[in-house]
Symmetry: C2
Subunit: 334 residues, 2 copies
């Protein structure tokens, strides 16, 4: 029935929505991008998106059929096919799979971007062949996708994998979730900026970072300062790595992963972040886990990693065990 060659991967971000036609080997054959227009409805977004998608399908005979559609979106519920009160989109709660089914009668799956990244790493990236690992996405916040025994952990309600909201400093920094001391207030692009400002306040060292306003400062500028040997930037990476390393030492106690994969902007700082993360993780890890857990970078290319993740999500469903397959088939009847 389905063309087994290509699926459509869609990544819905606050600013842009990116899509790509992806084959089983993770090759992105054709892709495109449209503005998300976060104030508009989900229906409007998908109408604009699929107009563009169908145009490409018409002009490229090899893409005239797709085997399925995978979607990464904020606050996505894998079980229900919904997106629920996403913080950056004016959608409320909406059933995305129902909307998509009006345009394409193929299997559709949706999850959040960190979960999609985890499946992407398993299918196409650093986690190929692994059955137990954790992906940590270090973006504006900290997302996580946990794979155990070869399967993503969705949890009872579809929202598992919120390691960014584990409390690491009691009564610590205010978090967007209205609680205090969450990991993502320290270990994320925003977190390291907050750390730089704390260090600039507490220390008297010269630093090129004293010329940036909070709004101007990016994790890239902190990285560039670190490369120049800036003491505040170096201390900020060390502190970020310390908080993240200790948190990962705790995380290992839950699912005992073979590897932890760091993904996203902050992870591109390379050894400036990996070295302290590994050091503090090993220093704080339970004896039985010592020197067992690799901390490694993502090998999905940053540019279309989110689309690859979304595509991997649906490839994973299509190739799955009989149970999963029948679930996918049931979705067609929705």
């Amino acid at each position: 029935m389905f063309n087994e060659e290509v699926v459509l991967g869609i990544d819905i971000g606050g600013t842009n929505t990116v899509f790509g036609f992806v084959d089983k080997n993770g090759n992105c054959i054709n892709q495109g991008v449209i503005p998300t227009n976060s104030n508009e409805s989900a229906e409007n977004l998908f109408d604009r998106l699929f107009y563009k998608v169908k145009e490409i399908m018409k002009n490229n005979p090899e893409l005239s059929e797709i085997a399925g559609i995978g979607i990464g979106a904020p606050n996505a519920n894998y079980y229900k096919g919904t997106v629920e009160q996403p913080p950056n989109l004016n959608w409320g709660t909406v059933n995305v799979i129902e909307i998509v089914k009006k345009y394409f009668q193929v299997p559709v799956a949706i999850t959040n971007d960190a979960n999609a990244a985890a499946i992407g790493e398993m299918q196409f990236g650093s986690a190929k062949g692994m059955k137990d690992f954790i992906v940590i996405t270090l973006g504006t916040g900290l997302g996580s996708g946990i794979v155990s025994n070869g399967k993503l952990i969705y949890g009872h309600d579809g929202f598992a994998g919120e390691i960014g909201h584990v409390c690491v400093i009691p009564d610590g920094r205010e978090c967007g979730c209205r609680r205090k001391g969450c990991l993502e207030t320290y270990a994320s692009a925003t977190g390291i900026r907050r750390t730089v400002f704390e260090l600039l306040a507490n220390k008297s060292s010269q630093s090129s970072l004293r010329n940036f306003s909070f709004n101007e400062l990016t994790s890239k500028s902190i990285y560039e300062a670190a490369v120049e040997g800036d003491p505040i930037a170096l201390a900020a990476f060390d502190y970020t790595g310390k908080i993240l390393g200790k948190a990962l030492a705790n995380a290992v106690n839950y699912t005992s992963p073979e590897a932890i994969i760091l993904f996203g902007g902050l992870a591109s700082a390379g050894e400036y972040i990996f070295e302290p993360v590994k050091k503090y993780m090993e220093e704080n890890i339970l004896n039985i886990f010592k020197n067992k857990v690799n901390v490694i970078p993502s090998t999905l290319t940053e540019g279309n990693a989110a689309v690859l993740g979304a595509a991997a999500l649906i490839w994973n469903e299509l190739n799955h065990t009989p149970t999963m397959k029948s679930e996918v088939e049931n979705w067609d009847l929705m």
Copy 2:
């Protein structure tokens, strides 16, 4: 080939080793106990144990065949079938499945007691019908078994589920694992005794607990004092519940369970421990998980819960998906 009616469940403790013949419905048809003699070898223990087991099998024709053997033991590695450097047994690292196979050519599975308890709850207890839950055993230490999507999480090395060693108070109480601030130094029978002594030192309230030495004090005596309204005992339960509740609020972020089941001595204090655990968990939990996670007591009878758990472990293997079945069959060739 196998008698499908009965399996043998074995729980190896530091003092006693308990065994029972358990049917598919969790009925313990016959049972026994021998001293573990922790200074002797594993071979010696199993030799004494199976002598007794075979005697029972000879005298009870309905028990003349068993379908499998499940074992709960400290530091047990599910994947390798080994027990590795158990703290209370003078065994070193030993392959238990190989030893057992000399006596019985049936499928054998081994895991630690908290994991066995989790499978026991799923098969026979509070977690019947649940696919995502966590069992916390509150004994001398704090053990945990995490079930996700209907399967126990063993992790890459077989040692997943060490929530007792998540650091909850940076630089907190010394733990047997040689680290500081582990959850089990606060939330366990030993933990609440330490809390009582801290409170007795810091507060000046009258308390019947001022008559106990540290070695005399038990969690049962603290419970009895709490029932009498003793302010130190009540404060100790509140503090224990606060630390555990906050830790569970964090734990939910990983696997988003439907329920958390408390098991073991301290859990029998009922509302004295459940009420503060629930209160502080809800106060500290991420919004999307609020009022979703039940905290409930185990319904396995304390007396033979460990044996039921060990029996459930092997029933679970025997009834499993084709993949698991073939693994079990392979074990026969070991």
